[in-house]
């Protein structure tokens, strides 16, 4: 399941990408237009800013804005920041690898075998989509 955090984050990024120009957009506006709890969205935008996707401006006329062009934002990085590892098990994760507690041998593990394929197919999709492709 995709978490609401990711879902809302993607919607917010899309919203900002659709707004032409780099004018800051207020949280309240995004929340209202996309039917998202404002406070929840607040924390999501904060993590997007901390991870280099958004810039913010405080005070009157402030808000959030995209730092890069939409076509420069690949879905792989967005998903990793919002949703975490793309792999469904840590033992097949490229960026968050961890050995399984059970499972003495990855080479012969049936789950491992299957999940490698699932990871690769998901990566294909995320790599071939940037934010611009979602508009």
């Amino acid at each position: 399941m995709l978490s609401k955090k990711t879902k809302y984050g993607l919607k917010a990024l899309t919203y900002l990408a659709r707004v032409k120009g780099k004018e800051p957009v207020q949280i309240a506006e995004i929340a209202k237009q996309e039917n998202i709890s404002q406070k929840f969205l607040e924390s999501i935008l904060l993590t997007l800013r901390r991870n280099g996707f958004l810039g913010s401006k405080k005070g009157k006329g402030g808000g959030y804005y995209l730092i890069k062009e939409p076509h420069e934002i690949p879905m792989t990085t967005v998903m990793r920041v919002l949703e975490g590892p793309i792999a469904m098990v840590p033992c097949v994760s490229l960026n968050f690898y961890e050995k399984c507690g059970d499972c003495p041998d990855e080479a012969t593990c049936s789950v491992h075998k299957l999940m490698i394929q699932v990871r690769d197919s998901a990566l294909d999709v995320y790599r071939s989509n940037t934010l611009a492709d979602l508009l």
Copy 2:
């Protein structure tokens, strides 16, 4: 993330598939060999039986066994029973479709667009793998 339930279920199915012949295998044996809590595994095997993957025999010499041949068990059905919908959002699910609460229009929803692709790529993988392919 893949739930432990699914992971253990897959391991148990694989274990049973590797055992030649249709002799019942005891829960305790599978649990020990695969490092799974026996009681937890018990409930997983029960749902696999209820969904037509396994047969069981009680009493001495009893246990669980595969009802079908491994190559007749596609991963799509296994995953749907153990893990639930393959889609990451209900609004792109084939078997568990549900409209999103937010999101007035699926046709223009950026998340929808992306998740359709992810679903299709995952389906490709699960459809092209049967239990026999994991051995």
